[in-house]
Amino acid sequence: MNEFITFISEQSGKLAEQTLTHLGLTGLSLLIALLMGLPLGIVISRYSRAATLVLGIAGVLQTVPSIALLGFLIPVLGIGVWPAIVALFLYALLPIIRNTFVGIREVSPTLKEAALGMGMTDWQVLTRVELPLALPVIFAGVRTAAVINVGVATLAAYIAAGGLGEFIFGGIALNNVNMILAGAIPAALLAVLVDAGLARLQRLRLARFRQAAFTFILLLPVLSAFYLIPGAGQTRLLAGFAHEFIGRADGYPGLVKTYGLNVSTRLLDQNLMYEAIHRNQVDIISGYSTDGRLKAYNLRVLDDDKNSFPPYYAAPVVRQATLQKYPALQSVLELLAGRLTDSVMTELNYRVDYLHQSPEQVATRFLKDTGLWRNKAPGTRSGQLVVGSKIFSEQYILAEIIRYLVEGHTHLQVVTKTGLGGTKLCFDALRTGAIDLYPEYTGTGLLVILQPSQITLDSLQGNKEAVYQYVAHQFRHQYGLDWLRPLGFNNAYALVMRDEQAKALGIRTISELKRYLSHAKE
């Protein structure tokens, strides 16, 4: 609790900025949705044939999962504010259109006829009778849209649009509960406050409510203005870094310490980074040294000439209970030890990320090529093994390799739980027994999960073998989890640039990047 309060007070400036950004994102998208949805709702209340179509489309948009919608928008709009606002706008659209439509439709036909019979024109019927009477229903739609948007806006952090999601996803990536709460609590509070505030408006008597609703709508652009695009102190090169990379001591802070690097950064989802650099949205990203997209997009890994990034050797981490239950399992899994070298892994990643082969295909092919493939024995399966993976291609491939290997060599039934959103999720799932094993990296285990003191870290000195021994020992005694022998490749962090640009600027190493940046600022 105290730690949480300390964290909040330390980060209060950032928290306030994120809250305002969050409000701004919500407000701006809501405003656009109103400007678009209200007229659309009015039009379809007049032409009922269009109604089914428009409501159908808006309804389908609503059901697209928010993260998928962002994914669709990246190729079209790139990263940053606009795709976030477009996504939020699309989500806000349905409640507004539908409630406008329903609100107008529900005005009694007798009243509409009375209004016409008095001699009102169609426009006068709309503005003097239908809209005022539909206003409470329309406003209820705005309220729904606002609350949805406050919630969905947390995802904006995935695509460098900021908001309270920065803390939430940063916290998940870094296994930092205080950070998660510092984002989640204000986001929840914001939703509750927005909802309660709008509900209060709704309870006002009609005449006053109309004034209040009008004021609210006028206020939206002001709210939207909270969204200030972060642009101060920009260097000529823009970096897009994953949350995890920015927060972790061995990530960006390590670079700052070792190289004195200082570059304008945007927070980006690690899966969107490659797309973003490929589309020239950013110039530097925090990639992984075995990522297949390096090859696909012709990207260059900058040489870590001062050894800032610690080693990240991958190995399956398994519950001890599972190993005891199925004694044959360990030897089967260790058939893989050392087989997946850096180049093998990059090739496998490339096939999935760029050639769009499925992880199953790639895994099968790898096992066949290495002679480890065995057809699944017929007959009933004697037990179940749950394999987890994080949410990137390499982990999907590893999970599939493990599945085919284990199913071929044992009588276990393997279930995969892929796409777990971060180290913390995988680790917690493993500890609670929701999964039996997942591939982890030595550096991650050390820095994210164990978080040892600086003295311990210094004593390990980024040594591959020392780190592995330390991590394996600590996991066994603290958590009852076993690290099996490393698979072979070192998937360390890497600073990545477009090869073309790196060549043009003469940057091959991180030191050269640092030199270029300091020079460019002057």
């Binding site: 007798t110 009243l111 006829e113 009375a114 019979g117 008095m118 001699g119 009102m120």
Partner: protein, 317 residues
């Protein structure tokens, strides 16, 4: 004068109004009477163009009503509808002012007219700032009428104006409406399915069935000289009540014996008093009399019913 000529309205699967023609003189009240679905409301709504006819012509003071935009036409025709159709988000004052405002009247003029209407329709001053749901049914009905009369239109259309009221309130409001000078001068077309209402408020009644006019004429004509079996059967249920309301002392006068009693002038009943009212007068108050050409006739229940019996025997009816 309102002239409806060969008005027809077809819908895809039925004919709602079939070749309907009638004239309404200035200051006259014509009641469109019939069961639901007979086409009376459709006919009414074609007069203010809420429904456009398939064929036929409507002329107001000799001009085709299609000559001007629909909304302008409607501003010159008062419209009273069932369940009042008052706007729930407008105060009573705003509701009454709807048409004057559409016509662009100045605020002072609207205010003066509103006060006039309040006094005329016995609505309390305090109701002006209230909303329709705060008023009683009878009051709302009066506001509905006030709204229709606000711009003093020469023609008023009424669609089941008292339909939403209970029978007691209804009879009361009906009596009030009948006594309103403002309404007597108007050309009124009123739709109802209530025979009593038609007989009380209509100068002439147009009885419709299946989109066609079955008979058009004064209440007495419909009652006593039905054009066909439909018309005859339509009034069967209430024939006696309607006759008592339709037959006047004037009709019975030839059948009443004159006597020499000198009546105090206060108890002299007017000659157009209906039989129903005359009977009420003889049973409730002091002895009543009526003036005939030959002298004064004293009235009693027995004498009146006797004369009524003979009158019904007359071969002409």
């Amino acid at each position: 004068m309102l002239a409806v000529r060969n008005l027809t309205k077809w819908y895809p699967h039925h004919t709602a109004v079939d070749d309907v023609s009638f004239l309404v003189q200035e200051g006259e009240t014509l009641v469109l009477l019939g069961t639901s679905g007979c086409g009376k409301t459709t006919t009414l709504k074609m007069i203010n163009r809420l429904i456009e006819p398939t064929s036929g012509l409507i002329e107001l003071n000799g001009t085709d009503i299609r000559r001007q935009p629909a909304h302008e036409l409607r501003r010159s025709i008062g419209y009273v509808i069932q369940e009042t159709g008052l706007f729930p988000h407008y105060t009573i004052a705003q509701n009454i002012a709807v048409v004057p405002q559409l016509l662009g009247w100045e605020a002072v003029r609207i205010r003066r007219r509103t006060d006039e209407l309040l006094a005329m329709l016995h609505l309390p001053e305090t109701s002006l700032r209230q909303y329709p749901d705060q008023l009683s049914g009878g009051q709302r009905q009066r506001v509905g009428l006030a709204r229709a009369l606000a711009a003093d239109p020469p023609v008023v259309l009424m669609d089941e104006p008292l339909g939403a009221l209970d029978p007691v309130t209804r009879a009361g409001i009906r009596r009030e409406f009948r006594q309103l000078d403002a309404l007597r001068r108007k050309t009124i077309v009123m739709v109802t399915h209530d025979v009593q209402e038609a007989f009380e408020l209509g100068d002439r009644i147009c009885l419709m069935d299946q989109g066609r006019i079955q008979q058009i004429g004064t209440p007495k004509e419909l009652l006593l000289r039905p054009a066909n079996n439909f018309v005859r059967r339509f009034f069967d249920d209430q024939r006696l009540t309607l006759q008592l309301q339709t037959v006047t002392l004037q009709d019975l006068l030839p059948l009443l014996a004159t006597d020499d009693t000198k009546p105090p002038p206060t108890h002299l009943l007017p000659i157009e008093t209906t039989l129903a009212d005359a009977l009420r007068a003889t049973t409730e108050g002091p002895p009543a009399f009526v003036q005939s050409a030959n002298g004064v006739v004293s009235l009693s229940g027995r004498k009146l019913l006797n004369a009524f019996g003979q009158w019904l025997q007359q071969p002409s009816f």
